[in-house]
């Protein structure tokens, strides 16, 4: 049992004692002492092999010949496989069959795995993989979104969501604006790279340790690749060293390769990619371009909006369908859009296939509308916050989303007013104006932006979960559930739920590694829904067990059910109390089952894929952030000076874990929009494939002043686990405040309305900021010329 829980006190049934308390991460004591075991740390059986992948060197073309003789002859090499060696189905695509494990002939991005080597050591395998001689017939490659649009190159068909009559409303609008925005992608940069270990079992079965957010999918893909049934494969994952969406569909590739090699050689095979290979061959956040036209009134309220979204999906569909759907569903963010058209193109390019990343397309949709809010404010010469507030969803009217889900839990006005006050927004607005007037080189900017994020998987079927709870006769409890631990603290939260229901201190409850043979047919730990789904499933199992114990106690001691209560490691039986363990032993002796499965499916949700309408989300999570930045106008460098955050998690299951998610999500969002730049050369090779060239935030990027708070006293209106709300993804989008603050600082260098504020591309790297400042200066010069 873990030795990491804080003590709890006796409580009644009316308040929670374990849930809601700031308990530390269940593995904290292991992490700080280096005793937590990740996949790469597992002891392997003697004779285990290590694998490496061979990659294509061109972006698009046909393999004319592949000479692997030097690879096979290299020291230590035991086995080499290509597409023809796959015993089953050559695909690891999560939705469509367009992601081959190895292409048979057609290569579609530079760095695509085309063969694999197993050798006696990782070094031997990696060295050997470099010795392949491959000849290609090169084909023209599409490398960026605009080019894909021009050629109508799509991985899946374009979708359009339309409400009202936006074209007519644009005609009638008091003001109209057109604009464009480019939004960069993002590498997950989980600190632990992709890894899988496949261990052959008897009779054709395979055990796979995978660093994955989606063990069930890995199980299915490995089964298909081996030509076996799903019941022949067991996938386990105790923890990941970070996931962020990058371990949702991507791990299947590595697991399939390890499993095929293991099946072929009969040995355990480990495949761990190094950082560079990981960054080159795994999908990232989709980059986007967006063109828009917006109509608005004197107050800045939007009366019509037409948005074109086009994303780089890469060479295959992967999860791009649902990702881009979510982009469409978050173009509204916090704002009511009466007449709106959203066109979403899912572009096929000859680059790595982009995938899930915290926010799952939502952040890009929000970036577009937040940019539009800023444009409107600058055109009208009013504070962007006032434009934002004027457009907020209403609570009784103006409260239906473009996809026709009413917003029933809107707390935007409340939390915005609160943050406006506590961050001293208005006073700082004037002091920043004064600062900028007196400071020719360094300019400051301030922005307060909201987040409204829909919680649930868009695809209704994924919103289900299972859990398994055992009580042993020493009174210890073992929980298994379908969710995975990637640092977010899901295992801690689920353990808290079970401890709460059984009236036990947390030390009594242990959560074991996620295992497809214990809880089957699970969904990915994604869409922020890990604790919503698995917490409820585990609660259901715990309640079943408690009810059995209550029924037993009632029969045994002639009590009514209300006389039996579980609290603080004891059971109250009428006037008496008993140790939990003692009651458990009595129940066991009376042949009461002490193991139960729990199941949960999210209620109320439904969604029509054809019309793109319905209630895809069980509820919304909200947050607001105010960021202040300084921009050096000579170098384009930016610095975050202060951030104030107020974020909604309903009634927190664990405030320490939740605030940790908020801080980490915010900084990751800021990295996406400021420093993390992906760059492909004209041959389609990703050149930012290591931290030397790809810059995630460091400790120095966190601001000197940071006030991060949870919204208090606002439980989830929906019946979620203890009325909490999901927290994984929404805080990432608080980072948009930093980008908008940079835009504010840049704008202070220009004079007058928008035509003089050129678009700022994301990420707002120093180069991007300088470029925009130069354009601004050129525009101002042009304006002056026209005037004179």
């Amino acid at each position: 049992m873990n030795d990491n829980a804080d003590p709890i006190s006796f409580t009644t049934n009316h308040t929670t004692s374990v849930v809601g308390t700031p308990l530390r991460h269940d593995s904290a004591h292991l992490h700080v002492s280096g005793r937590a075991i990740y996949a790469d740390d597992m002891r392997l059986p003697a004779g285990s092999l290590h694998a490496a992948l061979g990659m294509s060197t061109i972006a698009h073309g046909r393999i004319k010949s592949m000479d692997l003789s030097a690879v096979r002859a290299a020291p230590g090499v035991v086995c080499v496989i290509t597409a023809v060696d796959i015993p089953g189905h050559n695909s690891y695509g999560p939705i469509l069959d367009d992601d081959p494990i190895f292409p048979e002939a057609l290569v579609q991005f530079a760095g695509q795995p085309i063969f694999a080597v197993a050798a006696t050591s990782t070094e031997a395998a990696r060295r050997a993989a470099r010795l392949a001689r491959v000849e290609y017939e090169a084909l023209p490659a599409i490398l960026d979104i605009r080019e894909a649009l021009a050629q109508q190159s799509f991985v899946i068909p374009t979708q359009t969501l339309c409400r009202g009559d936006p074209r007519a409303a644009l005609q009638g609008a008091a003001h109209r604006l057109q604009g464009s925005l480019t939004i960069g992608g993002q590498d997950h940069f989980y600190l632990e790279g992709q890894i899988a270990i496949a261990i052959p079992q008897e009779d054709g079965a395979m055990l796979v340790h995978s660093s994955t957010q989606h063990p069930t999918e890995v199980q299915h893909k490995v089964g298909e690749a081996l030509g076996r049934h799903v019941h022949d494969v067991v996938v386990q994952c105790r923890r990941m060293g970070g996931g962020f969406g990058g371990k949702e569909s991507q791990p299947a590739l590595f697991a399939c390769v390890a499993a095929i090699l293991a099946a072929k050689t009969g040995h355990t095979v480990k495949l761990r990619t190094d950082r560079d290979a990981d960054m080159i061959m795994t999908g990232k956040r989709h980059d986007f371009v967006s063109d828009y036209e917006v109509g608005f009134d004197e107050r800045g309220r939007i009366t019509a909006l037409c948005v074109m979204l086009a994303s780089r999906c890469g060479y295959s569909a992967d999860l791009s369908g649902p990702v881009n759907d979510r982009t469409m569903f978050h173009v509204d963010n916090a704002y009511y859009l009466e007449h709106v058209e959203i066109v979403s193109h899912r572009c096929k390019t000859h680059t790595v296939s982009n995938t899930a990343f915290r926010g799952f397309g939502g952040p890009q949709g929000m970036m577009v509308i937040e940019n539009i809010m800023d444009d409107i404010a600058r055109t009208l010469g009013v504070d962007p916050l006032d434009v934002r507030k004027a457009n907020y969803y209403g609570t009784s009217d103006r409260n239906v989303t473009p996809y026709l889900q009413p917003v029933e839990d809107n707390i935007l006005d409340d939390i915005t007013d609160q943050l406006e006050r506590t961050s001293d927004y208005r006073a700082r607005r004037s002091s920043i104006a004064a600062f900028n007037a007196a400071s020719p080189i360094v300019k400051r900017g301030l922005a307060l932006t909201p987040v409204k994020f829909g919680i649930s998987f868009n695809a209704t079927l994924y919103n289900q979960a299972g859990a398994l709870v055992h009580i042993y006769t020493d009174g210890s409890v073992l929980v298994n559930h379908g969710g995975t631990e990637m640092g977010q603290g899901l295992f801690t939260k689920v353990a808290q739920v079970v401890a709460e229901e059984l009236g036990l201190p947390l030390q009594r409850v242990r959560v074991s590694a996620t295992d497809t043979s214990k809880v089957p047919n699970t969904s990915a730990t994604a869409a922020s829904s890990g604790s919503d789904l698995n917490g409820k499933a585990a609660q259901a199992a715990a309640i079943t067990l408690r009810d059995r114990l209550v029924a037993f106690a009632c029969a045994q001691y002639k009590l009514s059910a209300t006389q039996v209560r579980f609290a603080a490691d004891r059971v109250l039986l009428g006037e008496e109390t008993r140790d939990f363990t003692q009651l458990v032993r009595e129940a066991y002796a009376a042949r009461i089952s002490l193991s139960a499965a729990g199941y949960y499916r999210t209620p109320k949700i439904h969604y029509d894929r054809v019309s793109l309408t319905g209630r895809p989300f069980f509820y919304f999570s909200y947050g607001v952030a105010a960021a202040e930045v300084a921009v050096d106008t000579l170098t384009g460098e930016t610095r975050l000076l202060r951030v104030d955050i107020l974020h909604d998690v309903g009634t927190s299951l664990n405030p320490v874990l939740d605030i940790g998610q908020i801080e980490g999500g915010f900084l990751q969002g800021m990295g996406w929009l400021t420093s993390e730049e992906l760059w492909w050369n004209p041959r389609g090779e990703l050149k930012t494939h290591a931290p030397s060239t790809y810059k995630i935030p460091t400790a120095r990027d966190w601001p000197a002043i940071a006030n991060v708070h949870l919204v208090e006293g606002m439980p989830n209106r929906e019946d979620t686990i203890y009325r909490s709300k999901a927290v994984g993804e929404p805080p990432l989008m608080l980072g948009i405040s930093v980008f908008q603050a940079i835009r504010d600082a840049v704008a202070s260098c220009g004079a007058g309305p928008l035509p003089s504020l050129p678009p700022l591309p994301a990420p707002a790297t120093p180069e991007a900021v300088l470029l925009t400042l130069n354009r601004l200066a050129a525009g101002r010069a042009a304006l002056v010329e026209v005037a004179s």
Binding site: R43, L191, G487, E663, S692
Partner: protein
């Protein structure tokens, strides 16, 4: 070619035949089977592999095992007391929730111990600058910095040494 390397790791003398090009991190993880030292980037940039070599924090993915010949090495497994009580820096990371996925944590703790040794009256600013070579993708660093500040202020730190 195989060479013999000998060094002291967490107070114990060790000696093995290794390939000349064996990295110190591989020697620690694979030969010594101490897996608390992690590999995050393979290229001396993320700090996940940070250990102490002759009392200084170094990135073990960027050093050959041979270069540590005769050195005194401390890894994350060697910083707690023999009875298992955590070093004040470890305790502070746990207490202040300075971790999420935990993959950066051992390296962070090793860097932080060295940092506080060099700058006993360290400031937040200094911690942030000194921590530049340790990446964390999960936490936002806020709690990590909080933990280091708290450990620096803890009188037990001075005694713990390392």
């Amino acid at each position: 070619m195989a060479v013999k390397v000998s060094m002291t790791v967490n107070g114990k003398s060790v000696s093995h035949e290794v390939e000349e090009r064996t990295l110190l991190v591989s020697y620690i993880r694979e030969t010594l089977r101490m897996t608390g030292t992690h590999v995050g980037c393979d290229t001396a940039q993320c700090g996940a592999c940070t250990i102490h070599m002759n009392g200084r924090a170094v990135k073990s993915c960027n050093i050959l095992a041979m270069q540590a010949e005769g050195a005194s090495i401390t890894t994350i497994e060697g910083v707690a007391n023999a009875d298992g009580t955590l070093h004040p820096m470890q305790a502070a990371f746990k207490e202040h929730h300075g971790l999420q996925c935990g993959f950066c944590t051992p390296g962070m703790v090793m860097s932080a111990i060295d940092l506080v040794k060099n700058f006993p009256d360290t400031t937040e600013q200094q911690i942030r600058e000194q921590l530049d070579g340790n990446l964390c993708r999960c936490t936002g660093y806020h709690n990590i910095v909080k933990a280091i500040k708290a450990a620096a202020a803890d009188p037990a730190s001075a005694k713990a040494g390392v």
